[in-house]
């Protein structure tokens, strides 16, 4: 039989994001100031998708940005902030206090086992951390039960099933064999919990290059690959620090109010025609100053 040839998974950014519908449950990879697929996040914000449930296990400004752009109904996770820049994500905080965005509180380990339960096709996984805390009161999907083996009090953490996972990896080949170099965070679990996966990468490499470190490879059938170099900015990747000044400017705009944040969105989300235009707006001097 003739070999039909292997199909490329590399697609244009907007085409890849067509899988994200209004009302979808979307997992976003990375952690706090690191490894977020920000080029994908900005494109979602630009498109103006609505009513998302965002599962951002250890979130930073990506959640603030999507809330500011009016895309978010609910945030599922364990943290939204940028540490020394903003102890609490300022837009998240205001939206939650004003009742515009709902929070589903989880412990960081609940995110891990909940995503794992989805990957395992189980309704829940047991966990001990959170017993005796306010978690079950705040988030009634967490159910206290007595373990049937030893009779100890535990929590049932329900499966976190995702429509789409947006993940950053440094490289992928054309077939979706992706390798995160030092930025795996919770991403592999997000991918396994999702029906569709979009992987943002700095470089599309040959499969020969992937085969040199096969133990690093993550893959999900049907995943698409988007080429967006430096696309984690302003979060870090494995060789570029977070852009602390950019994060501070964003936090200042968020605190200053609607007009300042609209201006931020105009410059960084709406005006740049594509990812390259965003990088031009940030500037080559700023980008190169972040390389480690």
């Amino acid at each position: 039989m003739p070999n039909a040839g292997r199909s490329s998974s590399v697609v244009e950014l907007d085409e890849a994001l067509a899988v994200v519908q209004d009302g979808a449950t979307v997992g976003i990879g990375g952690a706090i100031t690191a490894g977020h697929p920000m080029a994908l996040v900005r494109a979602l914000a630009r498109r103006g998708v609505r009513d998302l449930t965002v599962v951002a296990p250890v979130a930073g400004m990506e959640v603030d940005l999507l809330i500011a752009a009016g895309c978010v109904k609910r945030v599922v996770g364990c943290y939204v902030g940028t540490e020394v820049v903003s102890a609490v994500g300022p837009i998240f905080r205001r939206a939650v206090e004003e009742g515009r965005v709902e929070v589903v509180d989880l412990d960081e380990a609940h995110c891990v086992v909940g995503l794992r339960a989805a990957g395992h096709r189980l309704p829940f996984m047991p966990w001990r951390g959170g017993v005796g805390t306010s978690f079950p009161q705040l988030n009634p999907t967490l159910v206290e039960f007595d373990d049937p083996i030893r009779g100890e009090p535990l929590l049932a953490i329900p499966a976190i099933e995702l429509d789409v996972a947006l993940i950053y990896a440094e490289v992928s080949d054309a077939y979706g064999n992706a390798q995160a170099v030092g930025t795996a965070h919770m991403d592999v679990l997000l991918g396994s919990a999702a029906k569709d996966v979009v992987i943002q990468v700095d470089r599309v490499v040959t499969t020969e290059e992937i085969r040199r470190n096969p133990d690093r490879t993550m893959f999900w059938a049907g995943a698409s690959v988007v080429h967006a170099p430096f696309g984690t900015h302003p979060s870090s990747n494995g060789w570029m620090t977070a852009d602390e000044q950019h994060l501070r400017d964003f936090a200042a705009a968020a605190k200053a109010g609607e007009e300042a944040i609209a201006e931020y969105l105009r410059i960084n989300v709406h005006e740049p025609a594509d990812h390259a235009a965003y990088l031009e707006a940030v500037g080559i001097r700023r980008i190169t100053s972040l390389l480690v």
């Binding site: 540490e83 206090e97 017993v131 919770m186 679990l189």
Partner: protein, 254 residues
């Protein structure tokens, strides 16, 4: 030598209290003083420990280059390490974390921590915090944890927290069979605290220049105060030199 900043004092007090059996010292988000303490302990009293900071696992006892203290936990420079650790794996070995560090919006008399925020009583939020990160899990399992409170006022030291992110209450921990050892110390800008046999917060020492009256005024509940309250021993020049010259080389804690 220039006197210690409060974060430098916190780092030094944390190192002083670590126990000989502490083999794994793990640091979470937004606690640069704990990152410094982990590195400092590894370079001095705990050469056999592994320290988990950001993405990297380090053992500095063999003379390896210490990682700098960066403003963000997951700085890519923490990748220069002997092993890497990600959230998807970090909870797979819950018998190992010996030491962890916790901060909070509110801390109560029984040692419970709230990092969720302050509810408005109608299903919404009067003040929304960042979320509890991994506090519930780490505080349940680690051999011992330290609470570092950057502010000490009746709003942060409260009789009863509005919500519990990390269960400190010794009686409740025993009833629920939590495996970890619970709170070791509480550090605040005013002093050092632990818990008495009944599980109520007790003063261990007050920092230089702080009076018992100031402490009472700043605390939203009745602390257990011994007759003689010692002054927190000041950082030595050796401690400050190690901290500033080898650990916090960028002055993040200044």
């Amino acid at each position: 030598m220039e006197p210690a900043s409060i974060n430098e004092l916190f780092a030094i007090l944390l190192v002083r209290d670590m126990r000989p059996g502490d083999r794994t010292i793990q640091v979470g988000a937004n606690m640069p003083m704990a990152r410094a303490a982990a590195v400092m302990a590894n370079l001095s009293t705990h050469p056999d420990a592994r320290i988990l900071i950001g993405l990297g696992v380090q053992g500095l006892g063999d003379g390896a280059e210490p990682p700098a203290v960066h403003p963000f936990l997951f700085d890519p420079r923490t990748l220069a390490a002997e092993s890497l650790m990600f959230q998807s794996r970090i909870f797979d070995d819950m018998s190992r974390p010996d030491v962890f560090f916790v901060g909070g919006l509110q801390l109560d008399q029984r040692g419970n921590i709230n990092l969720f925020g302050i509810p408005d009583g109608q299903g919404g939020w009067k003040m929304r915090g960042p979320g509890s990160i991994g506090l519930a899990t780490m505080s349940a399992h680690c051999t011992g944890y330290y609470i570092v409170m950057p502010s000490h006022s009746p709003r942060t030291f409260v009789e009863r927290v509005d919500l519990i992110s990390a269960l400190g209450d010794r009686t409740e921990r025993e009833r629920l069979k939590l495996p970890g050892g619970g709170i070791r110390l509480v550090l605040s800008p005013l002093g050092v605290f632990d818990f008495d046999d009944a599980g109520d917060m007790r003063v261990r020492s007050l920092h230089e220049g702080i009076t018992v009256d100031e402490l009472r005024e700043a605390t939203g509940f009745e602390l257990v105060i011994p007759d003689d309250v010692p002054v927190t021993a000041a950082p030595t020049d050796d401690e400050l030199r190690l901290l500033r010259e080898q650990v916090d080389v960028h002055g993040t804690l200044k």
